[in-house]
């Protein structure tokens, strides 16, 4: 592989942008490489060295592209979340209007749906909490700083967007649970339930879309410098809480997941407490494992980059 191909290959690996944007960046940088190489004096090795140095390391260029793409994604994700919020609000209103107030038992296919929706709702709530805490800690840490640095603002904005997306998904999930659990299967799927479920499905789907578009964005964060502002006074409490969540995510997730599971089980009266335990345990385990995968992907579990100086 020649130097040009190696440069573009490394750049390609480090880019976290859409396929269309990636193709455009690689084409432009490839052209740039050729143009610069053609005019530089010296041997091929020397010319490659100069061009490589002038262009900047692939990781540096990729990060600039990722950050720029992240800004766009964050803006559009916010608009998406606003639209999703309308969907969730509509679904909740319909559920409240048409729902049977009495709790019902669920079984068979409905139980599977409830489990999937429950998992989505609890996991989203966890991610929302972690992102929110991270954003708040950074705001508090930099609130006393004379100049809020660009990457601090960017991080807070991204955490806010992740929080909104995750909250939307959580709200959609809980609303779906209410719809499913407060209707009798015997009643069948009347128009109100069908509409509510359709709205909820769209809400969760769009929320997921907005959220997933932030992935490449958050990946860049661990490499950003930490805030140099030291937390003082009661601000240390947020730092401690955030560090605790980062250090013992299992404990935090398990408490949340089991608490949520029990709340749903008792509210839904799906079964006796004894029979419900295996189900609740399985749900809690699934949520904890899910958080481990997703939390790491979203950069929410990196204790070294919490913006907190202990």
């Amino acid at each position: 592989m020649n130097a040009r191909a190696r440069y573009l290959d490394e750049l390609d690996d480090a880019l976290r942008v859409s396929r269309r944007r990636r193709a455009r960046i690689l084409a432009e940088l490839g052209n740039h490489y050729d143009e610069a190489f053609a005019v530089e004096p010296g041997t091929a090795d020397q010319r490659n060295g100069v061009v490589w140095q002038r262009l900047g390391a692939p990781a540096v260029v990729a990060r600039a592209c990722n950050v720029e793409a992240g800004r766009v994604a964050t803006r559009s994700a916010l608009a998406l979340v606003a639209a999703v919020g309308v969907g969730v609000a509509g679904a909740l209103a319909i559920a409240a209007h048409t729902g049977d107030a009495s709790a019902r038992s669920v079984s068979g296919g409905w139980l599977a749906i409830v489990q999937v929706v429950f998992f989505t709702a609890v996991l989203s709530a966890e991610v929302a909490l972690a992102a929110w805490l991270r954003g708040v800690a950074r705001v508090l840490a930099t609130g006393t700083s004379p100049a809020l640095r660009g990457f601090d603002r960017e991080l807070v904005r991204r955490c806010g967007t992740v929080t909104l997306c995750a909250l939307t998904m959580a709200a959609g999930g809980w609303a779906a649970l209410l719809v499913v659990l407060t209707r009798t299967v015997r009643d069948g799927l009347d128009a109100g339930v069908i509409l509510a479920l359709a709205l909820l499905t769209a809400s969760v789907g769009l929320g997921w879309l907005g959220w997933s578009r932030l992935r490449f964005n958050v990946h860049d964060e661990p490499e950003w410098p930490n805030s140099v502002v030291e937390l003082t006074g009661w601000h240390r409490a947020e730092g401690t809480l955030l560090t605790s969540i980062s250090r013992w995510p299992i404990a935090v997730c398990a408490v949340m997941a089991i608490g949520s599971a029990m709340w749903v089980l008792f509210t839904a009266e799906t079964a006796t407490v004894v029979a419900a335990w295996p189900w609740a345990t399985a749900q809690a385990a699934a949520v904890v494992l899910g958080f481990f995968g997703l939390g790491a992907r979203l950069g929410l579990r990196n204790g070294g980059d919490l913006g907190v100086v202990a």
Binding site: H32, L55, G56, C65
Partner: protein, 108 residues
């Protein structure tokens, strides 16, 4: 001059470079380097996201052209970009003359 001191003005500098006529990325970057006598030198690859940002904002337009068998993307200043450049140039003159007055200690 450190990169941090002038990268905040990168968008304006790119608009200014393209004011003289359309150019592809490499030309614009070389022009930026030459017109600043090498002072404005940064990883050239990082200028492309700025070009894309300006295009998205409607200050630049771009189209693909084939030159000597090679496909290039040529950037051109839009009418909106021209207006923005005029405004930013005015703001910069005001700012720089104020800074100069303060630094050199001369009365306004």
């Amino acid at each position: 001059m450190s990169t941090e001191q002038w990268t905040g003005h990168l968008d304006t500098l790119i608009l200014s470079v393209l004011e003289t006529g359309p150019a592809h990325g490499y030309q614009a970057i070389v022009s930026l380097r030459e017109r600043s006598d090498g002072v404005f030198e940064l990883p050239e690859g990082t200028v492309y996201p700025a070009l894309h940002r300006l295009e998205r904002a409607g200050l630049l337009s771009s189209r693909r052209v084939v030159h000597a068998g090679r496909e290039r993307r040529v950037y051109r200043l839009s009418a909106r970009g021209r207006t923005a450049l005029r405004s930013r140039r005015g703001q910069w003159r005001e700012f720089s003359s104020a800074v100069t007055r303060v630094l050199e200690g001369s009365p306004a």
